[in-house]
Every structure is written in C-alpha cells, then in structure tokens.
C-alpha cells in the first residue's frame, strides 16, 4: 500500500498545490559546507590510516575520495577528480575546488594498501555510487587494519 502524507498544513496555495510538506523527517541526504558557492576540502586535515574508525559525514567521505583520486598520477588523477567534481557540483550546485597539494603524510593520506589495490576504481565507473556514498547519511566509510 502506498501512503502519502502532507504534514500539518492546509492547502492554501493560490497558484498550484503543495506537493511537498516536510518537517522533522529522516531520509534526507547530507550536504557540504560551502563558502559563497565554493566547496573547498582541506585534505591536510584528513588522515585515513589503519585505525578503526567509521565516518558518516559527507566531508570526510568526500575527502577520502579526493585523496584516493589524488594518489593516482596524471590522467587518471585528473579523470577521477573530474568525476568527483561533476558529482558534487550536480548535487550541491556548488563548485568543488581541487586541493593542489602533493600527497604525503602532511597533506592527508589513505593507508597505501587501499589505494594500491584499486579498491574504489569501480565507483568511478558509476558516479551514482559516489553520490550515494558521499551524500546518503546511511553510507559510511570504515577504516581498519588486518592486525587483529
């Protein structure tokens, strides 16, 4: 059975109808902080090592994807970033700035094995997966190691 709900409001629209009435609901996607329509993620603050951590917030998940993209060279790096940029811009309406920093421990990193094994290449072939990963609040990033 389909249930549709218009919550706590009468139809007062003098031009067409309320098609949506929402308050205090779940099922909403996350957004990213922006400054005047520009999203800039300071990758140097993100280190995804071998600790056991779970990240739900959109910025951490985007940072992970950006570092993953950055850790590849030349064309691949550019191709991956362009895909990320398109996904983020389409979802948020904001411009995503590339973090021009070189890789390395001081500029944010992902534990090498996750990158070397091409773990996330498949996501760049399907941008909707990236959108779901970054913006869906139920998607999360889990870091761990094999020492236990």
């Amino acid at each position: 059975m389909t249930t549709q709900i218009r919550k706590s409001v009468f139809e007062t629209n003098s031009s067409s109808t309320h098609s949506l009435s929402i308050s205090n609901i779940g099922g909403l996607y996350q957004t990213l902080r922006h400054d005047n329509g520009i999203i800039s993620v300071p990758l140097r603050f993100y280190t995804f090592g071998w600790e056991q951590e779970t990240y739900y917030d959109a910025e951490s998940k985007l940072a992970y994807m950006m570092i993953y993209a950055r850790d590849w060279a030349n064309d691949k790096q550019k191709e991956f970033f362009e895909i990320l940029k398109e996904v983020v811009e389409k979802q948020t309406g904001c411009i995503l700035l590339n973090d021009e920093s070189e890789g390395g421990y001081d500029n944010g990193y992902i534990d090498h094995q996750s990158v070397e094994d091409c773990d996330l290449h498949y996501m760049f072939r399907e941008p909707e997966l990236i959108r779901q990963f970054i913006f869906n609040p139920n998607s999360y990033l889990e870091t761990d190691n094999d020492n236990h």
Binding site: M1, T2, T3, Q4, I5, R6, K7, S8, V9, F10, E11, T12, N13, S14, S15, S16, T17, H18, S19, L20, S21, I22, S23, N24, I25, G26, G27, L28, Y29, Q30, T31, H34, G37, Q91, T92, G93, C94, N136, N138
Partner: protein
Amino acid sequence: MIITDNIRYRNGNVDVTISSDGTKVRQFDGAQFVVHPETIDVKITNYCDAACPFCHENSTVNGTHCDLEKLEKILSKLPMGVELAIGGGNPLSHPELLRFLFFCKDRFIINLTVNQKHLKTHEDLLRYLIMHKLVNGIGISVTNSKTIENDMDYLFAITKNIVFHVIAGVHGVSIIDELAPYKYPILVLGYKLWGRGVEYSDRISGKNHAVWEKVKMWKIDIPRYLGKVHLCFDNLAVEQLELQKWFDEKTWNEVYLGEDFTISMYIDAVLEQFAPTSRDPYRVSWNKMSLEEFFNNGKTKEITNRR
C-alpha cells in the same frame, strides 16, 4: 467546513483522511486512480491594489471580480471534503465573499490566500471569517518580514492554521531564517514566468538581485533547512530547486503528493475557465464542459497535447 474530527472520504481507489491541523494522508493499493480533484485553486477576483511587480496573475486595481453564483453552480456537484484554495487578486476585496463562504461552509474545506499588505486593511473581515469558522487555513504572501509581528499579531492570537508563502527568486533563501522563529509552515513557491513575472524577471536580470541568481542560492542552501524547518513546496519549486535529489526514495514517495493535475486543478472564475494550474496555457471555458469532465477527460487531452 471546519475540521474538528478527522474527515475521511474515498476518491476512486484512494482513502483520504484530513485532520484538524491540515495533515492529509492518502492511501491506495497499486496505481492510484481518482475521480475528482481533491484540491482546487480558485481565483475569484483579478482586483488587487498591492501592485506586486512579479504578480503572475496580472492583478491590478482595474481587475474584475468573478460571478460567485456561477462558481457555486460549478462547484455544487463536488463531494464534501474537497479543499478550495481561494485566492485572487485580493480575495478579501470581493463584495460577495462572505455569502460565498457561507455557501461553502458545510461542503468544502476552505483556505484563503491573502497578501500581507492586506492584513491590516481587512483586519475586521479576517477576524470575522476566522471567528465564525468560515476558513481553515490562511496563506500569507509575505511582502515584508520585518513587519510581520505588527501585521499579524491578531491572526497569531486567533488561529494556528497559518502558512507563510514565499517565492524563490523574489525572496532570497535567507527569508527562511527570518520566518522560522514564528514556527509556522513556510510554503516555498517556484518562480512563475507568467503574467508580470515575465517582465519582472527580464527587468531585474543582470542586477545583483536577479531572480535566477536568487534561485541558484536557494538550490544551494535549501538542504540546510530540510528537516529542520517546516517547509512546503509547490511543484514548480520542486522542479526549480531540484529537491528530489535530497531525499531517499522511500521518503520521497511518502512526502511527494504528485504532479500538478493529478489530484488538483485550477479555476479562473474571473475568466470562467478551468486549467491544470494557474500557469498552464491549456484552458477550457467552464461553459464547454463540467468540472468533472475537465478533470477526468481534460487530463488525457492535456497530456496528449503536450506529447
């Protein structure tokens, strides 16, 4: 019709319940089919002295009032419980409004949209309508958020069923911050390129406050408010602000009530025409077919024409 207990009716295969705070629940199995509109947007006058430069209804002080007796005949076959959103022009300026509302009182759920500029000038009438339970919901087209307290103090005291109306593109998205403290729902309307809305959009484009620049900022910032402030949207806003992408599928299917003309329609009682919405060029004289025929057959025709 003032709702004290829940109102229940069946429309085709859809069970509809409306409660006293306006909450509407629709339930159906399979694909829905409905036999009559559940909400009708009714323009009863084209007279208005507010002179909003973006008015998509093109209302002016030279605008005329509709013949409400004719409108009563058009509406008389509708079942009880249908919601009428009465607007204009300035609906409070119609000299027969009171008589019309008494006609509607035991038949329909009556809601009224009023420009903020008219709240003080028509205070006595509005008080009367609310105290005598002639209207349920009141939509207020916000023109000045700074004078709301002063303009609406008497309304706040006598009814809870208030909805602020704002237009994405006329108002900036920050209007939400200004209205949220009042704790009433805010209905966000899309920007209509219709009536004076066309000229207004052209005239101010290129300036800092251009309509589409504001719409762009709404698109960017609206997710910050979703789920935190009680917001409603019309279908045009849903489209212009690309809202669906911020919802998961299950939630969307629950809160989205469907496209225009699925359960709603528009009557321009001044021009004596039916239309899917106020901004739809597809219009049919109400002398040519009944409201029910237009709603059921017109839908097919309209869809065919668009294809």
